[in-house]
């Protein structure tokens, strides 16, 4: 029987498991912590784990987008919203009465998904991705995906205007 040699474990596997601990551990922290502020910090940890996944999957551009949009913008937005609504900082339980039903449902969903993933023989291809995926991505976004690209741009503007309209302070005359 060969001796166990730690240097035989490929680096990619080690990084994968570290990122899995970050992602799933962070996600568990998000759904279980009693303090919403801590939940938001766990959410940032989880986003960092997903960034590592994108690097492992050789999607460098998406990793940067994930870091800037999720770990940067969305996490800060959530932290701001928590600070604006003071009461969630209280240490009372954050779960509603049907939490055990939700837990059952989530566990059942997980079991079903794992069984399906294990049962299907995925048609894996050995081809390596193109060296310059960013160029490919740009050509696709402004070529065959031009209409969705523009629609998403309109959606972002609408969301921005809507967010400003919803969150602004009403003046005395409007009340």
């Amino acid at each position: 029987m060969p001796n166990f040699d730690p240097s035989q474990i490929p680096l990619v596997s080690i990084v994968f498991w570290v990122m899995t601990v970050f992602t799933l551990g962070g996600a568990l922290g998000v759904v279980t912590s009693r303090n919403l502020f801590h939940a938001a910090l766990y959410l940032i940890l989880s986003f960092f784990g997903v960034t590592g996944y994108y690097v492992l999957l050789s999607a460098g551009f998406l990793a940067m987008v994930q870091l800037m949009v999720y770990a940067g913008a969305i996490a800060i937005l959530i932290l701001f919203a928590i600070m604006f609504s003071r009461r969630p900082m209280a240490h009372e339980s954050q779960a509603n009465q049907q939490w055990w039903l939700s837990l059952l449902l989530a566990l059942a969903l997980f079991v079903v998904l794992v069984v399906v993933v294990g049962a299907v023989n995925w048609p894996v291809s050995d081809a390596a991705p193109a060296a310059d995926t960013v160029t490919q991505l740009g050509v696709a976004l402004l070529g065959s995906y031009l209409i969705p690209f523009e629609v998403v741009a309109v959606l972002l503007s609408v969301a921005m205007i809507g967010a400003i309209f919803l969150a602004r302070e009403k003046t005395e005359a409007e009340e």
Binding site: L24, V31, I74, P88, N96, A127, L166
Partner: protein, 102 residues
Amino acid sequence: MIPLSWWLMVSAALFSIGVYGALSRKNAIGILMGVELILNAVNINLVAFWRYVAPNDISGQVFAIMVITVAAAEAAVGLALVIAVYRRRHSAIVEELDILKQ
């Protein structure tokens, strides 16, 4: 290389945790965080399938970018709604927001 099914299982776990968070939280911001976890799980799936099944077709990454954009829009509008509701009702607990039932 890491097998494709590992990525799918991690993503399934993240999705289930997100579903649990979105269903069990009292606070609207907590629900939004659960939804963000769900969208992240979907993105891991999209990128993993791009890398393992069709690495020459960039569509998987394009879809992931669309999902990220929609998630950003959802977070902005959702949190603006939470702030607007909190200003009026002094609560972000969804169980207390039952004006339509009265």
